[in-house]
């Protein structure tokens, strides 16, 4: 009888854990990608370059100055790769960042801040 109860409780716990992991793996997040001027700690980084953006190997496309694009990503761990474009030709300079998203978290990524390795290149969107 006791063994049966233990088995049942274990099964319920396993199912709950499975549910939580499925929720985390399948959760869709909104990521806004900005190519806009940004000021932080007295420093200003200007968006004077266009970038070709890929998120999780998905081509997002070219982001010109002052442009914003939205992308939906699934899961917790992601990778963004940006490639500098000048006069419609790639300069060959690539920047790559990895980021993790918490449950129910949507973020904004600022490309000038990202390529300049600023701390606040990624910011949570307040609901």
């Amino acid at each position: 009888m006791r063994k049966r109860i233990i088995i049942r409780i274990t099964l319920i716990v396993v199912l709950i854990l499975m549910g939580i992991s499925l929720y985390t793996i399948g959760k869709e997040h909104k990521v806004l990608i900005d190519n806009k001027d940004i000021s932080m700690g007295g420093l200003t980084y200007n968006a004077d370059t266009a970038y070709n953006v890929r998120v999780d190997n998905l081509e997002i496309g070219l982001l010109e100055k002052d442009e914003r694009k939205a992308v939906k990503v699934v899961g917790a761990s992601h990778k963004i790769v940006v490639e500098e474009i000048k006069n419609k030709i790639s300069t060959g300079e690539k920047h790559e960042k990895k980021f993790k998203l918490k449950i129910n978290e949507n973020v904004t990524i600022n490309l000038p801040a990202m390529v300049n390795n600023m701390d606040k290149w990624i910011e949570k969107i307040k609901n």
Partner: protein, 384 residues
Amino acid sequence: MKKQNLTGTMNPYLKFLIDYSVPIIISLLVAFAIPLSGLSGKYFIKELTIRLSRNSFLILALLIPVMAGMGMNFGIVLGAMAGEIGIIFVTDWGIVGLPSMLLAMLISTPIAILLGYFAGIVLNRAKGREMVTGFMLGFFMNGIYQLVVLYGMGNIIPISNSKILLPRGYGIRNAISLMGIRQVMDKFIPLKIGGILIPIGTILVIASLCIFIVWFKKTKLGQDMRTVGQDNEVARAAGINVEKTRILSIVISTVLACYGQIIFLQNIGTMNTYNSHEQVGVFAIAALLVGGASVAKANIFNVFIGVILFHTMFIVSPRAGKAIIGQAQLGEYFRVFVSYGVIAFSLALYAWRKRVEKENERRKAMAFKRMLLQNNNTAEGDKL
């Protein structure tokens, strides 16, 4: 002594015709309608493949209650409702892809178990009238489902996604887009042959269920269900808990129907919140009966023959209707007519067979009594 059994004395060809009258009639109808429809072979195969993968799981869910002698489980509507509740939640939470489908299954399983248990208890109190009771249970539970979804969700049950909520702030919209899970299982292992998508993922799941059913029949519980299906009293005398076995068969069927509805909806890609489940029972049962099953006997073979014939009719009937009278609407009416007609015909055939069997039993008993009397009279005559 002359054999008194009506079906026993029947010509085997005639017996075959009676046993398989429904699939034979539908095959003839389909054979007549296919050339009239003028559909290309490729389109036809594509449609049939989609429908096979979309519906087979739901129809397979009907087999276990037949094994337990409970007839066609109209109560699979309850399982379908549980599946839809799971889908509403994952859509609200913004879960996409295969994890979304699996999570919907996980959430809806306890709901399906509870509903199946409730249905099992009710059906145990209505022995011999399981099918009509199951049908009415579907209507009853539909009312509760509507109450929960239309008034409870957004009010008592938190729903935050404004895309699925009604503008008033509570209740779920009439139609929900399931773009997040659309064909995720079908396209899980992508394969195209001649431009036709073969839903390998779904086919594998259906094949697994078929293997499960074959295995289940050989288990202790499966054997118990077959015994209960043959005779309740004999099963009880053999120490089987008849009521519990019957409840279990309905619980398993309801849970499978819940998964079947999720598979069905992932293929379609949209959910009609208040109507998607309504016709599930009728169409699944009609398909199984078209496949040559009866209220007392059904197998995996009947499921696939039924899906192919029934859904071939669905594919070709609108075009055939248009070719005959110039209106595709005729095909729509025709398929609804055939669905209900097939069920009515099968039930009538089953009732007729039961009556014949009873008559046979009565004749056998009378002949036995007459023989005993004759023997007694001969013995008395010899004494005198």
